[in-house]
Symmetry: C2
Subunit: 205 residues, 2 copies
């Protein structure tokens, strides 16, 4: 019973996407070629028509991850000019990205993804650094425009920003989706904004 035949270009992407979902559902341990093949509707050995092996598959997954993160950044930069608004949007988009791709934190923390392959580790590092760099430049732009307090170090702020939703993601994950990350992200953003905005605090209470 042959399944539909597809060009390797398309299949590769389709397989990598399915792999990301699979890891999201079952964890990296659950990334088994038979399960993956079943999801795509082919037979395990067919995967080898598109990937040299599991390693190459992992590479493709990391590439896909990169693509998604970059797309997010691009989008928010187009959606708004205001640096703080860009950051807020980036946060909300990032939350959605993680909600839809539970696989991402797992890949980052896995070690099994990068332990073997130096290139994969440095690619992951590059993705995070690039993201941080973008946030950092939003912070700097905010400072230039007088919106963000200039005594705060942009690179520290960028890291703190990225941390705003991480513990919430953990809770969400462990509680099986019961915890409301989106709501937390909104509140965390407010806390962050109040903490970094110029002049926003004197009247606080």
């Amino acid at each position: 019973m042959a399944s539909q035949r597809l060009g390797t270009q398309i299949r590769r992407e389709q397989i990598a996407e399915a792999a990301l979902r699979l890891v999201g559902d079952q964890g990296l341990k659950g990334l088994r070629l038979d399960a993956l093949a079943r999801r795509v509707g082919i037979v395990p050995s067919a995967i080898y028509r598109h990937f040299k092996g599991k390693e190459e598959l992992l590479d493709a997954m990391v590439d896909l991850f990169q693509k998604k993160v970059i797309a997010n950044v691009q989008t928010v930069k187009q959606e708004s000019q205001d640096p703080l608004e860009q950051m807020r949007r980036l946060l909300m988009r990032h939350v959605e990205l993680i909600r839809e791709n539970q696989a991402l934190p797992r890949i980052i923390f896995s070690e099994e993804v990068h332990h073997r392959s130096f290139s994969r580790r440095s690619k992951l590092l590059g993705i995070i650094r690039a993201l941080l760099g973008e946030v950092e430049s939003m912070v700097r732009e905010g400072q230039r425009q007088g919106l963000v307090r200039t005594e705060l170090d942009p690179s520290t702020l960028a890291l703190v920003f990225l941390g705003l939703f991480q513990p919430a993601a953990v809770l969400w994950h462990l509680s099986q989706g019961e915890f409301d990350v989106t709501r937390h992200a909104r509140r965390a953003w407010e806390v962050f904004r109040k903490g970094v905005e110029t002049g926003g605090l004197q009247g606080a209470q």
Copy 2:
């Protein structure tokens, strides 16, 4: 060649501790009974004298994790009465805990640790919630004493607090220890403190 004989009480702890280190070094995939046994100085099958199987070993690891986190909280509560100082110390201790136990974030994000076992997942959730609860009560106490701005929601703040070092831990990990988490934690703490303290900001320049 018999290795030293030890009571199962001691061996269990010893094995669980070694397992935590092993996961820290090699990731969960690297948690293989032969490698673990070698580290402890026994033979793989001997592990079964102390654990029913790998599942029970994972349980023991989670228990150990819990013990370490609780110990941290207890210590800082004894070291200082000032809630903000308690939080600062907790942050620094937590950073050290993660530095020494790379295994912890991996276990939390693994899914392979909790997917099978409901009890393990809820235990992990309990650990995090307990930790959050402690931070939250430090925040409340800070608010009661007029040190922390009362319009900030304690539970949101507790989560933001826990997020202060997480992205830094990722960078540290991916950069193979090159990134200085401790320094980041100090800076991130300053950012956090300035953001939440009452009255600390009017003079900000």
